[in-house]
Amino acid sequence: MKIHLPNSAFLGNIDSFLRGFDPTHPETLEITANDKWISVHPAVLAMVAALGLTVRPENIRCEKFEARSGHYLPRMGLNKILGISSEVSIVEHESAGRFIPLTQIRNSQELSKFISEMIPLLHLGPDQAQTIGYIVSELVRNVIEHAEAASGALLCAQYYKKTNTIRIGIADTGIGIKRTINRSWPASTDLEAIRLALTPGITGTTNREGGTEQNAGAGLFFIKSIASVNRDFFVIYSGRGFFKLKKNKPSSRLALHADPFKDRHSALSDLPYWQGTIVGVDITLDQTKEFSLLLDAIRKTYSSAVRERKRAKYKKPRFL
């Protein structure tokens, strides 16, 4: 496998970075980088870390990062998690208020512990901490419960002062969304499976309305809704499928959609195959709407989506 870290890869322009990923020869990993500057979204780092954990450390070839910003990668814990030397001296900084380094979470206990430790690191106000904790909990629990990923979830986050934004990336190398969804719903492509996974009330664990006693199929819809209302990016990539919620224009009327394809978005179905799932989300803190207002909109959209699905199953009268 080969992956090249460009000078810029954030959710707005991540598509071209993903196209450059080469998944062939899965027993080796070659990591190269732009030699002038490296500035990437945490989802990119989570992706590289997740890939690296599928390969024996001696089969990872990571070139020395020449870019002035190359120290960012070891500081975020990439070298440590992959067990490779960084070849740059790192001045350790207190991470409080700035970033959450790459963290591997494999089970429910590790997640609960991580969430309790994460919030103080980011120095957020109570409302913002609630939103970030909510997103991390739902995304990582999806991995733990559905991905069957030997390495669990790889996660990292970074606060960007200039835009007052927290960017979060979570990656796994599990079975991917299509296999999970196909246990209960028909989806012929990765993109169609992503579309179903983002629809409220659709879970791979059952095709019953209301889900099972443990799964509702609402987690991803909630997170997409948080990003949508806050006019932020949200990206999900699994198999060859890719969905990006684009930022809503400030002038546009905010509306939640049960069908993600009715949101302002871009979608691709021909990316290099990613064995597993990657999610990236940006949360602009000064735009964060009060969580409880968002829930009013979710309640309305969710109920109407369930009603419409039920209505679609009704028998229709035969008119001769």
């Binding site: 969430i115 609630q130 019953r208 209301g210 006693e213 609402a218 987690g219 969710y302 109920s303 369930v306």
Partner: protein, 99 residues
């Protein structure tokens, strides 16, 4: 009446679905099956995920239908938790009768 203090089990951010399952299986459903009413007390719980609330109460809707809302009361919920409970209660009732 069974009084269940969520904070004692799940802390101030109720997100661990395994804990929700333990409360559901070990306390809520047995109490309802015994004809007891249940009070879920959210005192000191600042936030809860929809997944946690679903894992806590959705099975009661499957087993007892909308009578669940006569049998379970929710105490000391903040505005956000009230809304998440309302979302779960709505979609469980909307979906009733689905095979």
């Amino acid at each position: 009446m069974r009084h269940i203090v969520i904070y004692k089990k799940a802390g101030s951010f109720a997100e661990n679905k395994d804990i929700a399952r333990d409360i559901r299986v070990g306390e809520i459903i047995p109490a309802l099956e015994n004809g007891e009413e249940v009070v879920l007390d959210f005192e000191n719980v600042d936030a809860a995920t929809q997944s946690f609330i679903h894992a806590l109460i959705s099975d009661a809707f499957r087993k007892f239908g909308d009578e669940t809302l006569d049998l379970i009361s929710f105490k000391s919920c903040n505005e956000t938790i009230k809304k998440i409970i309302a979302i779960v209660a709505d979609y469980m009732q909307e979906g009733m009768g689905d095979a």
